[in-house]
Amino acid sequence: MGSRPLDDVELVERSKAGDVSAYEQLVCRYQEVAFRTAYIMTRDAEAAKDAAQSGFIKAYYALHRFRSGAPFRPWLLKIVANEARNQARSTSRRTGLELRLAEGRPRDDAAPSPEEAALVAFNRYTLLAAVNALEEQARQVIACRYFLDLSEAETANALGCARGTVKSRLSRALDRLRQMLGDESSHLVDEGVHHE
C-alpha cells in the first residue's frame, strides 16, 4: 500500500461512495485555487470564502453526476465560480488585486541592479493598475488565465462561456491593456499606488 497520496480519480470514487475523509483530502488539495478563483470573481475575501465553501459542498452532493475518470479540478472550479457569481451580486465591497509588499530576493542567478529592480517593480505596479481598471469581464479572463494559471477549458468553465469566447475575450483584453498602458500609464500608476 505505502504512503503514496491518492490521486484525484481514486479520491473522487471514494467520495462518490460516501467517504467523507476522501473528499476532505480533495478539499485540502483544491481549496486555495477554489478560494482564489472565487476571490477573482467576488473581489471580497468573505464572499470568496462563502462561495468556495458552498461550492465544495454542492460539488459533493452532485458527485453522482460527475463522470468517473474526468478531471476533477475544472468541474469543481465551475461550481465554485458559479457560487461566486451569485455571491458577487450581493457584495458591495470590492477590492482590487494587490501586489505583495515584502518581496523576497529573486532567486535568479543574475541579481538585478537596484535600478533594474525598481523598473521591474514599477512595471508590475503599472500593469496591475491597468488590470484592476479593466472592465469586469476582461479583468476576470486575464486573472483566471494568467494569475491563477487556469487552463483555457478551466477558464471557460469558471466564466461560464465557451473556449472560443475565452480566446476572443483574452485577445480583446490584451489589446485594451496595451491601449491603457500606452495612453494612461502615469495616471494608472497613481491608482496602483493608491491601492497600497
Binding site: E10, E13, R14, K16, A17, G18, V20, S21, Y23, E24, V27, C28, Q31, E32, A34, F35, R36, Y39, A45, A48, K49, A52, Q53, F56, I57, K58, Y60, Y61, A62, L63, H64, R65, S68, N82, L97, E98, L99, R100, L101, E103, N123, R124, T126, L127, L128, V131, I142, Y146, F147, L148, D149, S171, L174, L177, R178, L181, G182, D183, S185
Partner: protein, 276 residues
C-alpha cells in the same frame, strides 16, 4: 515608458502578466476542510453511489465481461436464452413471452410471494411507493421477492388498452422496488439507447434531486449493487423499455411497452402510503 508597452507583443504581455500573477497578494485562503467535512457528516448524501466499484473492481471486471458475452449470446440465440434461463433458475422473461401460461403474472416472472400492499409493506424495510397517476389505478398484483431479493417489491399491471403487453414481461407494466442501487455503466449492449431523465421536480442546490435513466431499444440486462457494494447478479434478466432511478436507498424501475414520457409521468406520480 508608454512606447515600451505599446510595443509589447501578445506573448510579451502574457509573460508580464504571468510574472505579475506570481507577485500578487491574495487574502489568505481559509481552511475549509473542517467546516465542509462537518457539514457533509451532518447531511449525508442520499443519492446513488456505486459503492464498491473501485474496491471490488478486481471481482467485478471479470464478472461483467462474462455477463457481456452472455448478453451477446442471448441476444443472438433463442435456444441459448432458454438454456441459460434454466441454468440460472430465473424464469424466462423474454424467452417464454410467446406462450404465457395462465395464472398470475408474477409467478411466471419468479417475483416471489403475492401479497396485499399492506402485507408487502410489513415485509420490507422501506416505504413502498405506488403510482398515483390518474387513470392508472392500483396494481393488479403485488409481490415480495424471496431471498436473495429480501426487500424486493414488484407491482404488476396487466396488459390493457393503454398499457400494451411487453414481450419481456408479459405484463402491461412492471414496477420493481429494491433496496439497492442501479448500475448501468458499461453493461448496455449496442442497439440499446440510454438517456438521462430528470425524475424529481425538486431542485436541491441547483441540481435535479433525482435523475434516472431511460433504456430503450433491444432487450438488455439490468444490474444492481447491494447496499454493501456487491453486484446482485441474480437480478439480471432481459428487460425491454425501462426507466430506472434511485430514490433514497431504494432503486426503482418501471418496465413496459410505453413511451419515455408516459414512464416519467408514472415515475413522478410515485408516492408512499397510497391506500390499496
Amino acid at each position: 515608458m508608454s512606447e515600451a508597452w505599446m510595443d509589447f507583443s501578445d506573448a510579451e504581455l502574457e509573460r508580464a502578466l504571468v510574472d505579475l500573477g506570481t507577485h500578487l497578494s491574495y487574502p489568505s485562503a481559509p481552511d475549509l476542510s473542517q467546516t465542509v467535512r462537518a457539514h457533509l457528516e451532518q447531511h449525508p448524501r442520499r443519492v446513488r453511489s456505486f459503492r464498491g466499484l473501485v474496491i471490488r473492481r478486481a471481482v467485478l471486471v471479470p464478472v461483467l465481461a462474462a455477463l457481456a458475452i452472455l448478453a451477446m449470446v442471448l441476444a443472438l440465440s433463442p435456444d441459448a436464452r432458454s438454456a441459460v434461463a434454466s441454468w440460472f433458475h430465473f424464469a424466462g422473461i423474454a424467452i417464454k413471452s410467446g406462450s404465457s401460461p395462465p395464472g398470475p403474472l408474477g409467478h411466471n416472472l419468479n417475483l416471489g410471494r403475492r401479497l396485499s400492499l399492506a402485507d408487502a409493506q410489513k415485509r420490507v424495510p422501506f416505504r413502498i411507493l405506488t403510482p398515483t397517476l390518474p387513470g392508472l389505478g392500483t396494481p393488479d398484483e403485488i409481490y415480495v421477492g424471496p431471498p436473495p431479493f429480501g426487500g424486493r417489491v414488484s407491482l404488476i399491471y396487466r396488459a390493457r388498452r393503454d398499457l400494451p403487453r411487453a414481450s419481456t414481461t408479459g405484463a402491461g407494466l412492471l414496477i420493481t422496488e429494491v433496496q439497492a442501487r442501479f448500475f448501468v455503466g458499461k453493461t448496455v449492449p449496442p442497439g440499446t439507447t440510454v438517456a438521462p431523465v430528470g425524475i424529481s421536480g425538486q431542485v436541491r442546490g441547483g441540481f435535479a434531486a433525482e435523475e434516472g435513466v431511460w433504456l430503450a431499444g433491444r432487450p438488455h440486462f439490468l444490474y444492481y449493487f447491494s447496499r454493501q457494494g456487491t453486484l446482485l447478479r441474480d437480478t439480471i434478466r432481459l428487460a425491454g423499455n425501462v426507466l430506472a432511478w434511485d430514490h433514497g436507498t431504494v432503486a426503482l424501475r418501471i418496465e413496459g411497452q410505453i413511451s419515455e414520457e408516459r414512464a416519467v409521468e408514472i415515475a413522478r406520480s410515485m408516492e408512499t402510503g397510497t391506500a390499496h
